[in-house]
């Protein structure tokens, strides 16, 4: 589809992009294009102004901060995240999620900022970021703020971005650099959105954090479920934790599965994630 004439703006800094966004309230931000261009092709989105974030160095790449926090720039492509040696220990959960997004070609294009801003409930990053206690840095011309991934995802395809705001980066806490992290995905075929997925991080001392994707408007996490799995990894504890998570779930019936099928997947996927974590104890992930 051709949308004429259209403006394609290519800022060189995040601040320049934010001023462009402020001046063009109907503008859409674009980086990899993996989602937005598909929506434009389908006629679902018809932007007249695009602001490309592709040439903003400060928004790209993965780095380690002095306090051990790992920063992933919003325009970092899935391929780079899937291969980053900085994402180790419990943070491997994010690397694992990135490596299971769509397929190799799409991972060359799509970015973490675009993915989480779209917030499809079947996406791979949201549960991984929630399990890993990630925070999201959001910017507008008024300044920057940082909120937890838990608060960032608010509803179906809805995140805590206000008009004029954009995601600048994702921060992963250094306390997960040890331990183990796993992302277990159940999908109809390789490369599809998750029907249901489970992200799990486990510390060397046994502390566990889990999140479930695909089972409601946003990732499901619950401190009581984490406490159950921190206390024990036996089948009874897995059952109690998954019961808690299932009670909190609110899945849809759709082409990827019925709501009841989705609920029934939680226990099995959680058990697989836990068993993988047990196997890894004492070994490097």
């Amino acid at each position: 589809m051709t949308i004429e004439p259209g403006l394609f703006l290519q800022p060189k800094s995040a601040d320049e992009a934010l001023h462009m966004l402020f001046a063009n309230e109907d503008a859409k931000l674009i980086s990899g294009g993996a989602t937005l261009v598909a929506m434009m092709n389908a006629g679902v989105s018809e932007p007249t102004t695009l602001i490309s974030l592709a040439a903003i160095p400060e928004m790209n790449g993965i780095s380690s901060e002095t306090d051990g926090t790992i920063r992933i720039g919003a325009t970092t492509r899935h391929r780079e995240t899937a291969g980053s040696p900085l994402l180790k220990g419990g943070l491997f959960v994010v690397r694992s999620a990135a490596s299971q997004i769509a397929n190799a070609t799409v991972r060359n294009m799509g970015t973490i900022g675009g993915s989480i801003s779209f917030a499809d409930p079947g996406l791979d990053y949201p549960p991984a970021l929630v399990a890993a206690d990630a925070s999201v840095e959001i910017a507008s011309i008024r300044g920057r703020r940082r909120i937890s991934a838990r608060e960032f995802f608010t509803d179906w395809y809805t995140v805590a971005l206000e008009p004029g705001e954009m995601v600048v980066s994702v921060y992963l806490p250094g306390h997960w650099l040890t331990g183990h992290g796993f992302y277990i995905k159940h999908a109809r075929v390789s490369g599809d959105y998750a029907t249901v997925s489970v992200a799990l991080c486990r510390q060397e001392d046994g502390a566990v954090s889990v999140a479930v994707g695909g089972c409601g408007p946003k990732p499901i996490a619950n401190s009581a479920a984490n406490a159950e799995l921190t206390a024990s990894l036996d089948d009874a504890a897995i059952k109690r934790a998954s019961d808690i998570l299932r009670d909190q779930s609110d899945p849809l019936d759709d082409v990827r599965g019925t709501a009841s099928y989705r609920r029934s997947l939680i226990t099995g996927l959680l058990r697989r994630a836990v068993r993988q974590a047990e196997k890894s104890v004492g070994s490097e992930s």
Binding site: M1, G6, G33, A34, N41, E46, S52, N103, A104, M109
Partner: protein
């Protein structure tokens, strides 16, 4: 707006709207027909082209965002020794039937062999997981890619 695209080493000036994809510009304005329009949603891989050395979706790339990038289509890649080996192997292994997916398959395979000349079966599967084929059942394609890699290695060893 006017955009300069570098395709197969040659510069082309085209007029493109912001919604025009690289795929539509290649096919409809510049007559490069190797990349195919299948799903136009980034799922099937028939539109795969190489951008700065990586396989990308032509249908999910905006033409206006591709200025200055090194775009290679099968028309250009066919001149390389590596692609000739791949094409011969696809013929020898019956790695296509209708042929609609083949240009995308070849571009994805070429990008893999550019980085890994001894790919495992799994390596090929992962690298080409974004290319759907409804004829072959995939096994001949994986075998063809690994055979091309082997013949390239042998030729390199002979010097």
């Amino acid at each position: 707006m006017s955009v300069e695209l570098l395709i197969n080493g040659k510069a082309f000036n085209v007029d493109a709207g912001i919604g025009d994809t690289l795929l539509s510009v290649l096919r409809e304005k510049l007559d490069f027909k190797s990349a195919k329009r299948g799903c136009n949603q980034g799922v099937c891989g028939a539109c795969t082209v190489s951008v700065d050395g990586w396989p990308m979706r032509g249908c999910l790339s905006l033409a206006v965002g591709c200025a200055g990038k090194d775009i290679r289509t099968l028309e250009g890649l066919s001149a390389t020794r590596r692609m000739q080996f791949l094409q011969e192997a696809f013929v020898n292994f019956g790695a296509f039937q209708c042929g609609f997916c083949t240009p995308g398959m070849l571009v994805a395979a070429d990008a893999l062999l550019a980085r890994e000349l001894n790919p495992s079966h799994e390596d090929v599967k992962v690298a080409m997981s974004g290319n759907l084929c409804r004829c072959t059942g995939y096994l001949p394609i994986v075998a063809a890619v690994r055979n091309a890699a082997e013949r390239i290695r042998k030729e390199a060893a002979r010097g």
